[in-house]
């Protein structure tokens, strides 16, 4: 298990604000290349189970669909406590983020530290553009997590 922090950005670039996690990943690659390992996970959260076992410190970035203001940022430490399944937008038919984390927990694969950053999306329709609030929030989240992981 590596000591280099890992950021897993989850999302779908063809479904509007569902790319929020990937935008965070893109930005972190630009500003912290080398000090944080970055992976894109597109619509296959079960691969997150594998990613969770790769580093002692893992951060996940994803879009949320909680019914709050678009662009609202959420930071949750889920190392000990489960993630609420209701915060993620439903995917076509993969396991959701919360279920994948609990699967990893059940298999004893959680890292020493696991934090989830969520960005509330406005529009998840296929082909929709990224909303301004989400783009701004992605920049904010990227800077905040780089500050935490690689000060």
């Amino acid at each position: 298990m590596s000591s280099v922090p890992l950021l897993a950005g989850i999302g779908n670039r063809m479904r509007g604000d569902d790319c929020a996690g990937l935008l965070v990943a893109d930005r972190v690659r630009e500003i912290a290349a080398g000090s944080i390992e970055v992976r894109d996970l597109e619509g296959e959260p079960v691969d997150l189970v594998e990613a969770l076992g790769c580093s002692e410190v893992v951060v996940v970035a994803d879009a949320t669909s909680r019914g709050v203001e678009p662009g609202t940022v959420l930071r949750l430490d889920v190392t000990e406590a489960p993630l609420d399944p209701g915060i993620s937008p439903p995917s076509t038919h993969a396991l959701g983020l919360a279920e994948s984390i609990e699967l990893a927990r059940g298999l004893g694969r959680l890292p020493a530290s696991l934090v989830v950053w969520g960005i509330e999306g406005r529009d998840f329709a296929p082909g929709a553009p990224v909303s301004e609030e989400v783009a701004r929030a992605a920049e904010q989240v990227a800077r905040a997590l780089v500050e935490e992981l690689a000060p």
Partner: protein, 436 residues
């Protein structure tokens, strides 16, 4: 509310919030009789069809791949085949073998995800895959290892595990070197051993009783030794036998009052079933000897019409896909060119391949400028919707004595027999008793 004075019993879904639509299911029972079943569990990809209009034809594989997070390769394959049909491109055998190989990877990873994490928990009485993982960690780990082997294979051919970037109309951007394929061989071999155990394990599960007289629909390749994955004519157990171009003359999508989703039927007949059980029943003589032997030992050697046994069929297909992948790797010859090209022309192209869930049909009209004028995509889950309703009707009719909670769980399990694009929505059914 009662029906003609009889108390009614209703099994209803809670509206499932989805980003592009809603899923719902309702079964109404009165006087010991199922009155109706209404199901809407999949939103047809109409939005993607609209998105494709005006785009360059070469973009179709990448855009359609994003319709489904679990089977992007299937969309890429059907899209490529349809565009190649439109342009008159015929792949040579080495390129075709690579297409089949990457598709094997997707069958492995998709079937593993469904079998272990979405469907098996139903059979063992768990609410979810992760609950099952707590008490059957070794079993789940085996599923994840096998799935990983499928992902690695996709990456070896497609350039990336989750959304292959190497697939293009006419072939691939880059053909893998033999050493790159050899690099996944060991992992596939180990996975094949574990897949044998998966067949044995699924065969040991308890299967609810249900047998129906389906019309099975699948591809059937021209080569009689080939199990259908990436090409073939469209055939059925009741005599359908057409090229992919004959899809619209053979099948019809009907509007139904209770649903925005369309119901597919064979014209002049009725519902049909596509997917692993259909492929297996129509083509099981074409399995590799290892997979055929495993199917026989698992009790389905002569076929099966019990949809609950589809979990065993999926296990056999995982084994077959691993066996076939190893055969393709061992006989791999790099293609002379990684892709073939042709001048754009105004044409209509059809593509039909076997996604893990069943027949996936694409049709495109393209312009002389190389743009997409129109697109039509018919996924397997859409085609199975009416059959799923009929299964539920029959299953509920035969199990009315079950308490509400158990009947609801069994209905969810029955829907997951089809591995539809809403499989993961555990407990999306809600039973409401309106009167007894």
């Amino acid at each position: 509310m009662s029906q003609r004075g009889r108390p009614t019993r209703t099994i209803r879904t809670e509206a499932l919030a989805r980003v592009e639509g809603e899923g719902a299911m309702r079964v109404r029972v009165a006087g010991g009789e199922v009155l109706d079943v209404q199901l809407q569990i999949y939103e047809p990809p109409r939005l993607f069809e609209g998105l494709l209009r005006g785009r360059a034809l070469g973009e179709a594989p990448d855009i359609t791949a994003r319709i489904c997070g679990i089977c992007p390769v299937a969309y890429q394959m059907s899209a490529c085949e349809a565009m190649e049909d439109a342009l008159g491109i015929e792949l040579d055998e080495p390129l075709r073998a690579l297409r089949r190989l990457i598709y094997c990877g997707e069958w492995i990873e998709s079937h593993c995800l469904h079998l272990y994490l979405l469907h098996a928990p139903d059979f063992l009485g768990y609410e979810s895959g992760f609950e099952m993982a707590r008490e059957h960690g070794e079993v789940v780990e085996r599923g994840l290892r096998t799935k990983k082997a499928g992902n690695r294979l996709i990456a070896a051919v497609g350039g990336r595990e989750v959304h292959p970037v190497n697939v293009r109309v006419g072939g691939f951007y880059r053909a893998p070197r033999p050493a790159e394929l050899a690099g996944v061989r060991d992992q596939l071999e180990r996975a094949r051993e574990e897949a044998l155990e998966t067949v044995r394990w699924t065969a040991s599960l308890d299967f609810p009783e249900l047998e129906r007289d389906y019309e099975f629909v699948s591809l059937r390749p021209e080569d009689p030794s080939e199990y259908p994955i990436d090409r073939g004519r469209i055939v059925s157990s009741l005599g359908v036998d057409v090229e992919p171009a004959g899809f619209d003359q053979t099948f019809e999508e009907l509007q139904v009052e209770h649903s925005t989703a369309l119901h597919s039927v064979v014209r002049g007949r009725g519902s049909y079933l596509t997917g692993p059980m259909a492929r297996f029943n129509l083509n099981r003589g074409r399995l590799s000897p290892l997979a055929a032997e495993a199917a026989g030992a698992a009790g389905i050697g002569e076929g099966t019409a019990n949809p609950f046994r589809s979990i065993v069929v999926r296990a056999v297909e995982i084994l077959y896909a691993l066996d076939e992948a190893l055969r393709l790797i061992d006989s791999y010859e790099p293609p002379a060119r990684p892709f073939l090209e042709a001048e754009p022309r105004h044409a209509v192209g059809h593509g039909a391949t076997e996604a893990p869930r069943g027949l996936l049909y694409h049709r495109y009209e393209v312009t002389g400028d190389g743009e997409i004028a129109s697109a039509r995509i018919v996924p397997p889950t859409s085609q199975n919707q009416r059959t799923i309703e009929e299964d539920l009707h029959e299953f509920v009719s035969a199990h009315l004595g079950l308490p509400d909670e158990e009947l609801t769980l069994r209905c969810e399990q029955a829907i997951r027999n089809f591995d539809p694009c809403i499989s993961c929505a555990t407990h999306f059914l809600r039973l409401e008793v309106e009167g007894r």
